[in-house]
């Protein structure tokens, strides 16, 4: 299918700033859906609040733009109520790791078959550039005017440790690897998580001497180290670098399958006892 057929063209143009990478990540999601041949009628895309969370609105599926941080909770309701539906969550670094952090670890723990794409632009863009739990230490934001003293989450490590079936990180600069990771995540039965690093020259870049989209792309190119290469490097060399690649790809029991089995078991017991 033509990629444009997956978009609600009457919702365009989008609201994202010049140089924003969100459109590239959105395109990668659509390419993944297309490659797997998923039906638009049986795919639900859920988001929270923030720049990235506007993406589902542009897509021609059943789409749900929820409250801040809660996309995974709403998505859990959709998926558990109707397990045959494909459910995708689009979220951002603040949405997923700060206000929605609890839902993220618990969705991963249950290993519910939801694919979560976290658009990580390292900043709260919609509100004008405040630091997030994924902003690097010492970076600047409108609420970190003297430099960020917080430490950043390694969100992939957190989700992996919480029990997800699939975990990967990619970047908009390394679009081929990112697109493949998203497709693998969509195909994976179980909780699948992709952190997609995306440039925000307007809010993150401006405060961090990366004012143009090109500066930000160059920064991605220089900072990102593929996992295979990183494994051969010593920790000192990796300081300040970001590792991209697949961190988990496991076959584990899936939550809605387990619930279906539970229903069958309970109904059999009820029948036998009556």
């Amino acid at each position: 299918m033509a990629l444009l057929d997956y978009f609600r063209t009457d919702m365009l143009p989008h609201i994202w700033c010049p140089g924003c990478g969100n459109g590239i990540v959105t395109q990668a999601i659509v390419r993944g859906i297309d490659a797997l041949g998923w039906s638009q009628d049986e795919t639900v895309i859920v988001s929270g609040i923030g720049c990235s969370s506007r993406a589902p609105g542009y897509l021609d599926f059943d789409t749900l733009h929820t409250t801040h941080g809660r996309a995974l909770a709403f998505a859990t309701g959709v998926k558990l109520a109707k397990p045959h539906l494909n459910v995708i969550v689009v979220t951002g670094d603040g949405d997923a790791s700060a206000i929605g952090g609890n839902h993220l670890i618990h969705a991963a723990r249950r290993n519910i078959n939801i694919t979560t794409i976290c658009f990580n632009n390292s900043i709260y863009g919609m509100t004008g550039g405040q630091y997030s739990p994924l902003s690097p230490s010492h970076s600047y934001g409108s609420t970190a005017p003297y430099g960020n003293i917080d430490r950043a989450f390694d969100l992939c490590e957190l989700v992996r440790a919480s029990g997800a079936s699939y975990v990967a990180r990619g970047s908009v600069y390394h679009i081929a690897q990112l697109t493949r990771a998203i497709q693998d995540a969509l195909a994976k039965p179980g909780f699948a998580f992709v952190e997609a690093i995306t440039p925000c020259p307007v809010y993150f870049g401006r405060k961090n001497q990366l004012r143009t989209a090109v500066d930000m792309m160059r920064w991605q190119k220089e900072q990102m180290i593929p996992l295979r290469r990183a494994e051969k490097m010593d920790p000192e060399e990796l300081t300040g670098k970001v590792i991209i690649g697949t961190f988990a790809d496991k076959d584990l029991p899936e939550y809605t399958d387990s619930y279906e089995a539970l229903i069958e078991k309970v109904r059999r017991e009820v029948e036998e006892s009556s």
């Binding site: 009628d41 609105g57 929820t66 909770a73 309701g77 109904r267 009820v270």
Partner: protein
Amino acid sequence: MNLNKTGTHLFQGNEAVVEAAILSGCRFFAGYPITPSTEIAELMAVELPKVGGRFIQMEDEIGSMGAVIGASLTGTKAMTATSGPGFSLKQENIGYASFTETPVVVVNVQRVGPSTGMPTAPSQGDVMQARWGTHGDHPVVAIAPGSVAEAYTATIRAFSISEFLRVPVILLLDEVIGHMREGVSVEDVQAVEHLERKRPKGSKSDFRPYRDDGSGVPPMANFGDGYRFHVTGLFHDERGYPDLSPEWARTLMKRLMGKLDAHRDVHEWVEETETDDAEILIVSYGSPAQAATSALRQARAEGLRVGQFRVVTVWPFPEDALAKYKGQVRAVLVPEMNLGQLRLEVERVMGDAAPVLGLHRADGELFKPAEILEKIREVD
């Protein structure tokens, strides 16, 4: 309860809610443990799989509210249950359900607040929160049953109202109604009408999820049925797309706030006792109504002209029904287990027509009939 048999069966209030919810077709429950509503979650965990429904214990109260909204959007009747602190946490998503017109039933078994308060003691301290707990103007329905039998029928009505009018319904139990055991009659349960969600007709490609069909309540499609629609908590046009223009905001809010007025027959619920010749009117709701009824009987035996106006659907407040008593009654008593919440509505409706006297307690104790009777005598 076997509805094919007649007679009266003993139920705990929380148990009655679960049974009635399943009878109403509820097939999804998401919750979080909290006293004194926990039995509802526990029984849902037992019963839902038996009927092919789904129960999930979420990581928190906010998540359970989100999950029931998500489930409801797939066309599955959904419920959650909580108490004071949890009700506070659910508020943002209750507003989301109201604004996106997603049917959900939220049970709040009220305990004494504020804060952690008294977890095992009854209260009616969340009456105003049920109306105004979430930010912004919004429609909401709240029902406060006065007995276990009424908790049963009120649950059925809560689903009907929620599904038919696409509005969140708060089932305001209090700890007494939730934990007390009383008889529920099969005939009373059978008599309650079940209303369903209005479904779209016509071609899927022309479907507009928020287009008024003239009733004020747009027909609702399910996620997964090929309508491919957008749902957002932003101001949204008929297509569900964001539209923040002042003109559209006025149009949308007019329909949203007007739909409950237009369908008062669906949600209004008042029970009047001995009011024809009443000079003193007791306005009650929830478990204190039982003490008020008892006081009324004794007062009548003493020859005092007392009547009871029992509000079951507290929001929207039945103002026209109550206003009928202006000019008839010389005083109104409002017993409630809070420091004066629904009394404010009664005062607003009665105006200068009669003094409104509150009997209030928020100490975890129940009203005794004698306290109410004493107040009646005092007024007389």
